[in-house]
Symmetry: C2
């Protein structure tokens, strides 16, 4: 598991001449960092008298943020695994028509899978952005910049995952699948951008110098 490596070892493996882990795994990791920061703001809000009114909400947000963090960390590995499967498929023998057909089918299947992993990352980013927005508005005011970094990481994760969906879609001929998924990517990107802007506006207001 990549997330069982030290941060330095993960960075070394990322920087190495092996193409995986790459941007797809980094996008999932950025999602996990964003979710962890949302949890932190909940933890710094829960139990504080000043925030007793939002205590129950913060507990719910925390549980959801932790669920998403777990899923993001799994997706760090799944993206690398899906990429390696595509590479394996390209490496299949291609002597004769039967082998060629099998190889192409394997590439198609692996590429579809490699599209679905970052697409899942994008969807979770939107869910986690909603949590970042809630902690920015109702969480501990002292942690407002942490809520902001959470939203920034989640938006970058969403945009990074989108690049990974698109590059894989470029390798597919199935025009229905490509069309549907391209529309989905554009719609998720739009949502993420709007949510980031809303959250930044909440944070900008709260961080105004007195």
């Amino acid at each position: 598991m990549l997330t069982k490596k030290t941060v330095n070892a993960f960075l070394d493996e990322l920087a190495s001449s092996s193409p995986a882990p790459g941007g797809g795994s980094v996008a999932a990791l950025a999602g996990a960092l964003g979710a962890a920061l949302a949890t932190m703001v909940c933890n710094l809000t829960i139990g504080k008298k000043k925030y007793a009114d939002v205590e129950d909400d913060m507990k719910k947000i925390k549980a959801e943020a932790e669920r998403l963090r777990t899923r993001f960390t799994e997706l760090v590995d799944q993206d690398t695994h899906a990429f390696n499967k595509v590479m394996e498929a390209y490496g299949l023998p291609k002597d004769g028509d039967a082998q060629k057909a099998l190889r192409l089918a394997a590439i198609r299947e692996a590429t579809k899978e490699a599209t679905l992993v970052p697409l899942e990352v994008m969807k979770h980013c939107i869910d986690a952005m909603a949590l970042a927005q809630q902690v920015a508005s109702a969480g501990n005011q002292n942690s407002i910049s942490d809520a902001g970094v959470s939203a920034l990481m989640l938006h970058a994760a969403c945009e990074g995952a989108a690049l990974n969906v698109k590059i894989n879609l470029n390798g597919l001929a199935d025009s229905d699948f490509v069309g549907w998924k391209s529309d989905e990517v554009e719609s998720l990107l739009k949502t993420s951008k709007i949510m980031l802007e809303e959250t930044q506006s909440i944070i900008g207001e709260k961080m105004k110098r007195d």
Copy 2:
């Protein structure tokens, strides 16, 4: 050292009820992830016949990206350390005028230091964004999405670090320092945004479906 922890342990510590590490360290880590991805694209370009013309450039970019990655990983710890110093200063005794004056001076010094760390992160992000842009335009075409995720991480790191500079400036009364540093933050943010847009435009062009 935070980067000697496993990725999972780092995420756990981030999510915990301790306010540090928080968004400032995450911004520095996002910088390290962006720099590592730029190095990866260099590594996937160097030694390839098709890219022999840019080999020397890629070697230089790689050396610079690795230098920045090392600095970013140091800044992950330095941000947490600077935050803890601010908290320690707030914890100093305040019985009598002499103690009060010493405490306020300690808070002021620690808060200035906590401003300078994320400001350094922002500057390195701009330097690393220039490298991400170069690998996007001249590096291995198969790694174009990795160059894109590199630029996205660096821009999110720059914006995240800016929030940390601003929240610390809010705690300072020295209007000259606050004015200079606020201007510097706005200028760096503007540069980062322009560089991201330029890089995204290069990448969008290269990723167009044939």
